[in-house]
Amino acid sequence: MKYAVRTEDLRKSYKGAIFKRNEVVALDTLNIEVPSGSVFGFLGPNGAGKTTTIRCLMDLIHPSSGRAWVLDTPVGDLNIKEEIGFLPDSPTFGGHLSALEFLGLSAKLLRLPRHEINARVDEVLNIVEMKDYKKAKLGGFSRGMTQRIGIAQAILNRPRLLVLDEPLVGLDPHGRKDLIDIVNKQKERGSSIFFCSHILSDVEKICDYVGILKEGKLLAFGKTGDLTADAGVILTVDSSDQETAQKLIMEAKESKKNAHGDWVLTLDQQVWEKVNSELNLENKDTVKVEKGHKSLENFFFKTVQKEV
């Protein structure tokens, strides 16, 4: 199987000041495997170690131990960087350069063929809707405009892996929608996307895989659908069928009555399988069965709070 990103016991710690011996662990033996062609969302509270992971993957910081690969190549290989696009958290670019000059510089550093540079720069400026500002100096740009230019330089080389650190910050709702469209288009092209964000609803919409990190430790990792599907089974028992209701109330983890007087019961998956085999509930007219789905937001807070 091909992986866009893979880490093996990746660890990063910082030593304290000269007279302080305490060691701060930013990342603690991280093991993740993001399949090629997928969109991976990295979640976690501030200071969880998301940016540290990204900086390790981009070879901007050196891990204390462990190993990491991007596009199945060890981190640090210069040639593989030609196939990666990177947008850092709160980017700033040389204010003296115009958008066109900055993207031209980026294109040269990405080793794009000279004859393709102008066309490619125009193409990405169109995608991020910044063509009208191409001659304006970056120093005068708002945060959202800077973010758009950051996205433009990240997709300039039509990357196989796009690494985005908080790409939605600073964007208005229109900008957020545009970014999600860009991410989806990159995915359609076959690119893998690795990004971290605090906007969980957007992550849920676009990510195939999700990882939750807290204090440097990976708390959860898996397919978005799998992580959010584990909310048990919700049964609605008609008020006329008190006998079944009484039996199920004993097994339910949550029970309440709705406005019609029907019982609404939440059962764990395992409990559901047991009682269904005993009572054949799926074929009863008085019982309505629904598979429970929790939002990524619920899952995130439950996972993070469980650790606390």
């Binding site: 030609e82 850092p88 670019f93 040389g94 550093l109």
Partner: protein, 235 residues
């Protein structure tokens, strides 16, 4: 190579876009010109005053230009610009060489502008400058390479203010210890603000070549040393 020149060109463009560079260059040339007015005060020795002033100003202007690198690199590291650049297929050593080449171009350009201004003023006032004067000016311009490499070294791991201060001290003492040109330019002294090289008729072409070679060698050695440290650090 393209990456190195892209970084160098970006720095060149940024520094030469500042109007203050041209203003200070004009001020330096004007200061050299007005030394002629001190003929009476110098008891007929205003020619020496002009030469010393010119050499001192070219050295100081070069030094101030290369010191700007002590602000440029730490600022790029702090603001994240360096992260964006180094996430591309640009080696950290290439980044450093690009900065060194860029700042050397700018400092040499400014030093050459002031030198040309000085030679014109000197030529109009005292007649054609001697070959040894031109060679001495070339030696000063060569000294920009080791000067810039010293600043590059300190700015790769210190913050702006500290890097600028320590670099200035290092360059100043480097001149005193004749190290700025690989121990070959023994007679350019910033301390007594004089240009003794001008009065030395023995600057041969071989000496000039040796000085250039030493300057480049010093620069390369410093880049290797800086690169070793810069590659180890987290950005």
């Amino acid at each position: 190579m393209d990456e190195i020149f892209a970084i160098a060109h970006s720095l060149w463009k940024r520094l030469l876009a500042a109007k203050v560079v041209y203003f200070l260059t004009l001020c330096a040339i004007a200061l050299i010109g007005i030394t002629k007015m001190y003929d009476v005060l110098m008891i007929g020795e205003s020619r020496n005053l002009m030469v010393d002033t010119a050499f001192m100003l070219i050295t100081v202007a070069s030094m101030l230009t290369v010191i700007s690198l002590a602000f440029d690199i730490p600022k790029e590291l702090q603001s994240g610009i360096a992260s964006v650049l180094l996430a591309k297929p640009l080696g950290r050593t290439h980044y450093l060489i690009g900065k060194l080449v860029g700042i050397s171009w700018v400092a040499m350009f400014i030093a050459t502008l002031i030198s040309i201004g000085f030679l014109i003023i000197y030529g109009v006032t005292y007649g054609a400058p001697s070959a040894s004067m031109i060679k001495a000016l070339i030696l000063v311009i060569f000294s920009i390479i080791p000067m810039a490499s010293v600043v590059l070294f300190f700015s790769s791991f210190l913050n702006e203010a500290v890097a600028a201060t320590i670099s200035t001290i290092a360059i100043w003492f480097g001149y005193m210890l004749f190290a700025m040109n690989g121990f070959t330019v023994y007679d350019l002294s910033v301390f007594n603000m004089s240009a003794e090289a001008f009065y030395d008729d023995n600057i041969t072409n071989m000496y000039l070549l040796k000085a250039a070679f030493s300057a480049v060698l010093t620069g390369i050695s410093m880049v290797c040393f800086t690169s070793f440290i810069f590659n180890k650090r987290d950005l």
